[in-house]
């Protein structure tokens, strides 16, 4: 087949479920994560953080600390680059506070000593004088008149006049005329919703080991979703040239978006420069909660009109997202994803990015989208309830499909929402009987997915095996899917491909592992690098046979003559070409560098059965089914894993997880005991259905699968709770006190 077609059948390796190449490392304790590295002469760094939500830093006295045994360096904001602008300034301001501490946990000063105990002891001896300022942590209060201003002049030009200075970005999109649409409806429901901030909750705290000499050359070892980004940001914050830093990504103990940001690496570099020794910083769990990016909290109003036959006539949403003390809350994605599953003649969506005295929000799995789905899909469920309509049929009736106009403007390409809804309808779960006290909910969800800058290299070894170097950290088994795609193209066994996550000195720039891009973009680049390798292999065969390169094709791991005049030669296996490559033109290395732009969007439909205990208000998820479009599942087991993991995080978001701030603006639950993520005994098995509607933008049809799975659960569970207990919750999490309050209100009439 030609290289420019999408291959949809005849796969030999793709679609199988081989063991991951790094499996043994990870079940034996051998795999080296962020905190597992050491270096000769290494110091330990500790960061002192603001105990106040908002305070002017008057004085930092480090004299006593610096006199303590084992202390080698102290750094403050004065030790970083000046004159930064834009997002680099925001990141620096977050990494180390300038004049003002902007949230509880904001880094103020750091210290390095010979052991972590010595560093912690010394950190306690640092005295910081603060002038406490008024603070605000709630999104609605932060944009209300009289709220303390986090930073004057932070708003960009998109913000309409007359809004509070804490509103820093504004989004508005849609089409048609919603008022006309609402007038055509038989029933219009308008409701307000709120969701609390949740944390990505990766089990591995941020960790790094950094060295920076006074010649400006440095190295960093860290757990990150994107080491080229770490390199770029650290170089900017330290004021050195990018290429002088080499960053190696360790194994990464979960990220979910939270490790797309840079927090401790520049601090470790600055300490290292001062001490002239390597410095390791490992965050505590409490630091992860207080000072790394949770998601935004939201306040949302959604209004939808529907005819008796289920046709949606108009939809309007207003989405206010608090993103901490910096611009960047992903409100435009909340707005654009909100109504994406539906084909609407009249739709309007408005988003507000609001600053408050909380940590700088970071991406979390489909940033902004799950909250939108919670509000929109709750209202659709309520409309179906009141109009007596079937939940799936109604969604099918309005579903976006190829050729319909998206709520955010363009006309859809090939998408798989209808296929997901049909698969959900056909699944035994949808019609299974429920026990008393149980209710069933469904929801759709949408995420864009992303491509991004990608570079891959494939080096042939002399025995015909292949060393594949990719630049996207392996968070959930991607080494396996990369090796599968390479083996598929080359026609060699999966075991003959070794995938390595290369450092920043080895490959061209690779964007962060985000936007569900790894299997799509690094996969596409791997396939293209394999095709480049094949072209080079065919050339060697052609030279050996003395025929034209065009007369050689590649079949099942061998060069073969093809075409009428190619001549009659025995197939030349990859290992034979490899063995002689040093004498036939030198090493054979395929590569590919591009910014693939065909990341297909992904839809999902989830079905959930929940049981509400009227005595305690506790909700239990008793059955869960994820249906999602993967385009093409390269390694179906790891696709299922993404579906299950996203659903589990969504269950936590829906039922338990929340940032709780006290009146003093301090985070009250900065630990896994009080910030409760789902544990094994909370969850049922999570059933999965992989729908495959090929993405025309990938050679095998791959769509990103990592993020969409967290979009439907919040609403699906809210809808199940409504069906089970007859109360509709408008605020997440649906924790026992909130459910009890709703039940009591209902009983009181």
């Amino acid at each position: 087949m030609a290289f420019d077609e999408t291959k949809t059948e005849g796969f030999k390796v793709v679609g199988t479920r081989p063991n991951r190449p790094d499996g043994i490392d990870k079940v034996t304790g051998r795999a080296r994560f962020g905190a597992d590295a050491t270096a000769p002469g290494m110091l330990h760094g500790v960061i002192v953080r603001s105990p106040h939500a908002h305070a002017r830093i008057l004085k930092i006295d480090t004299s006593e600390a610096e006199a303590m045994k084992g202390v080698h360096a102290v750094v403050t904001r004065a030790d970083f680059a000046t004159g930064l602008t834009g997002e680099n300034w925001n990141i620096l301001e977050n990494v180390m506070a300038g004049e003002t501490a902007l949230y509880d946990g904001h880094a103020v000063v750091a210290i390095a000593a010979t052991s972590s105990l010595a560093a912690r002891d010394a950190a306690k001896a640092i005295v910081v004088d603060y002038e406490v300022l008024p603070h605000v942590t709630d999104v609605d209060k932060a944009m209300a008149e009289g709220a303390p201003v986090i930073r004057e002049g932070a708003a960009d030009k998109s913000v309409p006049a007359g809004l509070h200075p804490n509103v820093v970005r504004y989004h508005e999109s849609g089409h048609g005329d919603v008022e006309t649409g609402f007038a055509e409806a038989d029933l219009v429901i308008e409701d307000s919703f709120r969701t609390e901030a949740t944390h990505q909750g990766y089990i591995e705290p941020h960790a790094c080991l950094a060295q920076l000499g006074n010649d400006g050359r440095g190295e960093i070892w860290c757990c990150t979703q994107g080491h080229w980004n770490v390199q770029k940001v650290c170089a900017a914050l330290l004021g050195i040239e990018t290429s002088k830093l080499r960053v190696t990504a360790s194994e990464i103990g979960g990220g979910f978006g939270g490790k797309t940001a840079v927090f401790i690496e520049p601090v470790a570099l600055a300490l290292s420069l001062k001490a002239n020794r390597p410095v390791k910083i490992v965050m505590t769990r409490s630091e992860c909660f207080r000072a790394t990016g949770p998601t935004s909290s939201t306040s949302m109003d959604v209004k939808i009109g529907m005819k008796k036959d289920g046709t949606i006539t108009a939809a309007k949403g207003v989405f206010r997202l608090q993103g901490g003390a910096f611009p960047g809350a992903p409100m435009e994605f909340t707005a654009m994803c909100a109504f994406a599953p539906y084909n609407l003649a009249n739709v309007s969506q408005i988003g507000f990015d609001v600053m408050s005295n909380r940590p700088k929000q970071a991406a979390y799995r489909a940033p902004g989208s799950p909250m939108a789905a919670f509000a929109v899909e709750s209202v659709i469920d309520e409309l179906c309830e009141q109009l007596g309509l079937d939940r799936i049929e109604t969604r099918l009736k309005n579903a976006s499909k190829e050729g319909t106009k998206a709520s955010f403007g363009p006309t859809w390409d090939r998408i798989g929402l209808v296929e997901c809804l049909e698969a959900a309808k056909a699944h035994p779960h949808y019609t299974a009987p429920l026990k008393p006290g149980q209710g069933r909910g469904i929801s759709c969800g949408f995420w864009f997915n992303h491509g991004g800058e990608t570079a891959v290299q494939m080096a042939l070894s002399e025995d015909g095996t292949v060393q594949l170097s990719v630049g996207t950290p392996d968070i959930g088994g991607s080494r396996a899917s990369m090796a599968q795609m390479a083996a598929e193209e080359l026609g060699i066994p999966y075991e003959n491909v070794r995938t390595t996550i290369a450092d920043t000195a080895t490959l061209g720039y690779n964007e962060i592992s985000h936007g569900s891009r790894v299997t799509y973009a690094s996969g596409l680049a791997t396939i293209e690098a394999a095709r480049d390798t094949i072209r080079k292999l065919c050339k060697r065969a052609a030279a050996k046979w003395g025929i034209d390169e065009e007369a050689v094709s590649w079949v099942d791991g061998c060069a073969v003559p093809s075409g009428p005049n190619a001549g009659d030669f025995d197939p030349l296996p990859i290992a034979r070409i490899a063995k002689s490559m040093g004498r036939t033109g030198g090493p054979i290395v395929g590569h590919y560098e591009a910014t693939p732009e065909g990341a297909g969007v992904s839809f999902a439909t989830h079905i959930v059965d929940a049981e509400v205990d009227p005595e305690t208000g506790s909700t239990r998820v008793v059955r869960y089914t994820v249906v999602q479009d993967a385009g093409k599942a390269i390694h179906p087991t790891y696709v299922e894993g993404q579906y299950q993991g996203g659903a589990a995080q969504g269950i936590g978001w829906a039922l338990n997880e929340e940032y709780i701030y006290g009146a003093d603006g301090r985070l009250q639950n900065a630990g896994f005991l009080d910030y409760r993520i789902p544990v094994a005994s909370d969850l049922p098995m999570i059933d999965t259905v992989i729908v495959e509607v090929p993405n025309p933008g990938h050679p095998y049809g791959v769509r990103g699968v990592g993020e969409t799975s967290i979009c439907p659960p919040l609403a699906a569970i809210a809808n199940a709770v409504s069906a089970a207990a007859g109360v509709r919750l408008h605020e997440l999490p649906m924790s026992p006190p909130r459910i009890l309050a709703a039940l009591e209100k209902q009983a009181a009439g």
Partner: protein
């Protein structure tokens, strides 16, 4: 080189920066030329374009590639830059 006349749809938040227009027609053969022409015609759009936009051409979303061709009959929408977790 011939540059086709391309109709670019703006998200409504951008319209006030482009004299209220829902769509702007510019001469451009690629996404990069289209963005340059947009800013030239409506300097108020400079910050938004500089901050990063994605561009949908006939339903396919381009987050970065300025060299992607656009044609007279292309359906072109500006979108806010696509990122992810």
């Amino acid at each position: 080189m011939y540059k086709p006349l391309v109709k670019v749809h703006l998200w409504s938040g951008l319209r006030s920066l482009a004299d209220g227009a829902e769509a702007v027609e510019v001469r451009a053969a690629t996404i990069g030329q289209m963005l340059d022409a947009l800013v030239a015609a409506h300097p108020g759009l400079a910050d938004a374009v500089e901050a990063g936009v994605s561009v949908s051409v006939d339903g396919k979303i381009y987050a970065q590639n300025l060299t992607e061709p656009v044609a007279e009959d292309s359906e072109v929408y500006l979108l806010q830059r696509i990122k992810g977790g």
